[in-house]
Every structure is written in C-alpha cells, then in structure tokens.
Point group: C2
Chain length 205, copies 2
DNA sequence: CCATAAATTAACCAAATGGTTAACAAAGCT
DNA sequence: AGCTTTGTTAACCATTTGGTTAATTTATGG
C-alpha cells in the first residue's frame, strides 16, 4: 500500500527536524523557520501539530530527557557483581552518548536556563529508580568489604562526570589537546572500559 | 573626591551586567534590553561602548574563557610532587568553579553552538601551556614507576570531568539525587580533596 | 567662561520571529 | 457523488529585538 498523504508522517518529520534544531541550538537559539525548512513543510504546519514553540520544545525535551538514564533500573536488578555493574553502566552509557552526542549538554543546558522544566516533566518519576538502587548496591559493597568507604553520591557523580563530560566539552578538548575528530572517537571508544577500570581501581580494597 | 559622572564607570557597569546576563542565558538567550536594565543605563549606551551584541558577547566570552585554566602553568612549574600537583589543581579548580558556577557550562555551551569562537580568541595561545606540561609530568611519573600507565589525555579528561561536571549538572543532580542547595555545597567542598584522592588512588602503584 | 568633545537619553526604525487567517486540497465517510 | 473532516499553503500580523539618530546634558581644557 502506497503511503497516504498523511500517514501521520508530517508529525514525525516535524519531530525529527525539531529534535535536530533544538538539540543543536537550544530553545532560545532555535528558529521555527529552520525547523519548518528542515522538515520540508510550511511554517504554519508547526502550529497545526504543536500549538507553539514552547509546546514543541517540551515534547522534544521530555523525549530527550527520557533517554538520559536508560535501562539502568534493570541493570541494577541483574545478578552481575558490583564491578560488572559499573563496567556495564559505563560502557552502555558512553555508547549511548556516542550515539547522541548533543543529548547531555542539551538537557543540562536547558535545565540550567529553566530548572522548572525538569520537575514538571519526567524526572520526578525516574528519580527513585536506579539512583536509589545504585546507592544501595554501593553501600552493600562497602559493608561487605568489597570496596573502600565512599559517599555513594560522590561515586555516582564521578561516574557520570567521566562518561558525559568529554562529549559535552568536545570542542574545548579538541582545542586544548589538539586532537582531531578521528582521534577523539578512538579515545571515547577506549573510555568504555578505561573509565570503569579507573573507578574500580580507585575504590577496590 | 566624589566620583565624576563617567569615571569609565559605565563601561564597567555594562560589562558586569553583560557578564551576568550572558553567562546565565547564553548568546541567543540574552536580551540587550536586559543588559541595559541591569546596568541601569539606556540601551543606546550599549552600542555606544560596544558596537553590537556580537562584539559585547565576544568581549565577555574572551574574558570568561580566559578564566577557565587559571594559573596552572605556574603550578606545573612548581616543585610540588606529582600527587600534590593533582591535589592542588583539583582543589583550586573546584574552588574557582564554586566561585563562578556558570563559567564552565557557559563556555562549553557557546563553544558547541559556535566552535569557531574558540579558535578565534584565547585558546590558541593558552593551549600549549599547562596541558603540555601536565602531559610531560604524567609521562615522567609513569616512567619513574610512580603511577600505573595511562594515556595522559584520559587522565586530564577524568580530572576536569569530575571537577567541572557536577557544577554544570547541578540542577539535574539536585533532581535525581534529591539533594538541596546546602547539601550540594557541602558535597562540592568535600570534592576538593575527594576527587584528587579518587584519582591518586586509581593510578598510584 | 566659552567652545569643543564626550556621554547620555528618548524616540524611532527595520529586520527577525512567533504566530494567525483564510482559502484551498486531499481523505474519509455515507 | 457529495458532504465533512483533516491536512496544507501563502499571505499576513503583531511583537520582539538589535540597532540608529538626533537632540540634550555633562565634562574638559584653553
């Protein structure tokens, strides 16, 4: 069956275009016209499918923020040992960010300019999930003498810092270290194991 | 002596106001009117002292980016041992960011939206400085058997990740961990020593 | 003290930008 | 087919926004 004129296709084109533009330019930097152009539709269509810029943005933000901490819940429930959980999270997280390089900076940046949107949307629900489980897992590992004592929050922060930051700071890192695109990708690939071992090395007894 | 009407005061008021607004909202989010209001002057004065928005922004960006890697050059030249250099850099860097919480996110964010401004301005000069020295210092420490082998770039990335990221991600961290302002500040204070020890613990032989 | 330059303001302007309208085309339905 | 709903477009509108102008005030220096 040939695809009918709508097929709800337009809405997807808009969302794809909006995702690209918003992630790259942010809310204030994005232009509705740019989104329309990239979606190859009339600007009026944007307002036909999404009431206004804010609503369109929130749709994208919500979708995007939802990808920030993917399947970590399940991962924490798995029967992997503590170190393997770290290895698994680090590796899959860096892979995810490699695939969506703008994602962390976008969410963090918009959240800074307007902290309310975080509360309003998805975070509330996801919060307790994996962070709580991770904390418990860390505490258990400390109590069982597997790792040195450390405030779980610091450990979590350290992990996500080393996973996400390099991608956010990529243009800066390229300048101050003098590396190029290809070399950067190699480094990020290495970090999938390096970061986990760096952490484990630091906390193991 | 009473302060005369100008005193080149106005220019400073503008710069202070522009700094606040740009750091908080970014280039595209900043409004010239907001800057004028905050500086308590007429909007036309902005264009009297600074040709246009771009020029004013670049002035602020240059000044701000210049603070990103402060006196690390001297620090690397000091006769501190390698571990103490790490302790010193981490501590002073976190202190600097505590004092200028918007700084890293601002520079990184604007650099992402417009990578050219980095090259144009200050980075070129500062680049070789401390990064090169730091790399040499790391290599030397590896060769002398003080620390385990690691690609110096990774070590540098890890260090700045753990120093800067928490401040950039503050609103997100507050949401997913449930901590409040006060607790956040305590954690960041702790990180001045914690991060350094975390690193040292991981690489020491 | 006056003439000149520097600083400041209010009013204005043009372009950019988010958003709307009204007419038209396509699909769906009976 | 004919009527209604949905999708799409071009033209238009109102506001925001960066920027300018011309007139006014304030300093400065001979």
């Amino acid at each position: 069956m040939a695809k009918s004129k709508k097929d709800n296709n337009t809405e997807q084109q808009i969302l794809n275009a909006a995702r690209q533009v918003f992630l790259e330019k942010g809310l204030s930097g994005a232009r509705m016209q740019d989104i329309a152009d990239k979606a190859e539709i009339n600007k009026a269509m944007l307002h036909y499918y999404f009431k206004n810029k804010e609503l369109l943005f929130e749709t994208i933000f919500q979708e995007t923020a939802g990808k920030l901490f993917p399947h970590f819940d399940k991962l924490m429930d798995s029967d992997l040992n503590f170190f393997d959980k770290i290895r698994s999270i680090v590796s899959s997280y860096i892979e995810m960010v490699s695939q969506n390089p703008y994602l962390p900076l976008f969410v963090i940046s918009e959240l800074n300019k307007n902290p309310e949107i975080g509360l309003k949307h998805f975070f509330e629900k996801q919060r307790p999930g994996f962070v709580k489980k991770f904390k418990e897992s860390i505490e258990e590992s400390i109590n069982s003498g597997l790792i040195l004592p450390i405030n779980p929050i610091h450990l979590i922060i350290n992990m996500f810092s080393m996973c996400a930051f390099p991608f956010m700071a990529k243009p800066m890192l390229k300048i101050i270290t003098g590396i190029e695109e290809e070399q950067f990708n190699i480094l990020m690939e290495q970090r999938k194991v390096l970061v986990a071992e760096f952490i484990i090395n630091s906390i193991k007894k």
